[in-house]
Amino acid sequence: MGSPACGAFGEFGGRFVAEALWSPLAEVAEVFEEALGDPSFAARVHGWAEQRLGRPTPLSHLGGLSEALGGAQIWLKREDLLSGGSFCGVVALTQALVAVRLGRTELVGETATGDFGVALGQVGLALGLKVRVFMTRDDMAAEPAAVRRMEEMGLALEPVEGPARGRRGAMAEALRYVACGPERAFYVTSSLASPDPYPRMVAFGAEIIGNECARQLRERGVSADYVVAPVGSGGFACGLFGAFVQEGSVPGVQLVGVQSGGDASPTKGAASLVRGRVGVHMGTRSFVLQDELGQVVTPLTDAAGMAMPVVGPQHARWMRTGQVQYVELADAEAYAAVRTLARSEGILACLESGYGLAYALRLAPTLPEDAHVVVGLSGDGSRDLGRLARARGEGASS
């Protein structure tokens, strides 16, 4: 089946939802479009991002590691420095400001690791909104610190029962809640793989990251040859690539999205763009990891942020047009890359970022010293310390 009618990215995207959600989402889309045309909206987003979320994050040149690798200069866009994942922050912020514009009084979202729930609390409470967060019982048990943090903020935390299906189960519950009270509740998501207008709104928030990065490169007099980012559902990468993808705007830069190949056995892993087929899941038409019957496959990967069976529609289009190259790397290589970075530069990246890093570590030695490779670090590795230690114990990659 062909292109979606609403919020299309070429043949991808769309608003594939139950009827109960159509009109609420249409209303959100309408207000979001209106906001895009209002310069004061962008100013508010940028003001809050700077004054409340602590943006911009820096761009760090890794002089030592680049020299050790003996090739291209490696640069990191440092989303790891802001606590809790600054990607979640800008994404929650943009949507929360749309909610305020719509006169909604309650933000409703789902969280898997807890980061997005915390981000919703940070921006929602600051804006005087109520905040309700759906999280599966399994995820709650796995992330007690994030749960405690949300409790301290006084958020309404909704444990989701039923077959444990990570973010997807919680998302369904959150949407259902919104469908019951769309005049006050506003659905907010961190997933680029979502029904229109969410992929557009997530990208709008996340693009702050790429715009900063492009400006920082200009200020440092550097033109990037490669921009590399991890791709789970793809929000962070979409934001980082956004400033570079427009034809002509930054000529000659190769964009690379790196997905998790799990333990490197071909039928597992989370590389939706490499091993998925076109389908509709989570309200959007995109690449979906699925079996021959159309049942969605649960990806197996150690990186929490990468375990998504469907990718944002922007990436599906960029793969089709060839504007971005997508590859998969095994978990073991991501672990090794995280460790290399920690030991050489004292920067502890999250495992998710390890896939992009690992690609850069392979790539840099093949390039001349005046080439520049930018890697997007999407977050800090505190949460992965246990996994890193176990992976080292198993000798997976040391």
Binding site: C6, F16, A18, E19, A20, A179, V296
Partner: protein
């Protein structure tokens, strides 16, 4: 429109309340499903909704999510669904049959032939939960050429204007999804008023899915709607199983039928 769908409209116009009951195909296995469909037909349902399970039933509540999770393990393909539909049709030529699923399950192969296959097997209409009107253009065309009309859903968030457009396109029953897998989105008077208003703009029967578990609730629903759709209470009954599950299923549906019929000719 085929005879069975015509009959539903006629009954609705005659204020004879309609009963639709849903079953998850393959819960717990395909043969059982065929037996259960027979029990529904014998107990007098007007429409059987055969749910083709999907691994990600985002718009179903916990009971039907569990039923689908069980059924997914049966790995049913479209040929098996056609078979079961054809078998049902042979035994019960006059009971309407709606097949329902999520869009992704129709995208594993060219969709046109899947629709044609279902139509030939005697399926009367297809309900795709996550395909709103605006995104349906292509499926509409395929549905038209396959002669398999789409069931359209409406809800508490559907404006009257939007309802009229949905109704204009509808070639099969319309379903009011009044509970979103859990809570009711409109109750009591508000629900009745909305249904009455919508009813003025369509000749298609409107079934309401309201999380009904008892005959009394079903009866209340058909005070306002042309028919009632009962799903999770049946899946819940089947989940318990045990040796007398078929008899309990039969009694449940007979009770629903009886209470619903008490409303006949009223309103």
């Amino acid at each position: 429109m085929n005879d069975r769908l015509n009959t539903l409209e006629e009954r609705a116009s005659a204020r004879r309340p309609l009963l639709m009951v849903a079953l998850v195909a393959g819960d717990p296995h395909l043969d059982a499903t065929l037996d259960y469909m027979g029990i529904l037909a014998e107990a007098g349902v007007d429409v059987v909704e055969l749910i083709v399970p999907f691994s990600e039933p985002a718009y179903h509540g916990a009971v039907l999510q569990r039923a689908m999770a069980r059924a997914v393990n049966e790995h049913l393909d479209w040929a098996q669904i056609e078979e079961i539909a054809a078998e049902f049709r042979r035994s019960y030529p006059s009971v309407a049959l709606v097949v329902s699923t999520y869009l992704n399950r129709l995208m594993v192969a060219p969709t046109g032939p899947i629709l044609e296959g279902l139509q030939s097997a005697g399926v009367d209409a297809l309900w795709i939960y996550d395909l709103p009107m605006e995104e349906a253009a292509e499926v509409d065309a395929l549905s038209e050429s396959a002669g398999l009309p789409l069931v359209r859903a409406v809800s508490a968030t559907t404006s009257l204007e939007r309802f009229r457009e949905i109704a204009r396109r509808a070639q099969a029953p319309i379903i009011w999804t009044g509970h979103s897998g859990g809570e009711l989105t409109l109750t009591g008077q508000a629900f009745e008023e909305r249904l009455r208003t919508f009813g003025e703009y369509t000749r298609r029967p409107i079934f309401a899915s309201m999380g009904v578990t008892t005959g009394a609730e079903a009866q209340a629903v058909v005070q306002a709607a042309d028919g009632v759709l009962v799903g999770s209470s049946v899946a819940w009954l089947l989940e318990g199983r045990g040796p007398d599950v078929k008899e309990r299923l039969r009694r449940h549906v007979v009770e629903l039928r009886a209470r619903v019929d008490e409303v006949a000719g009223q309103g």
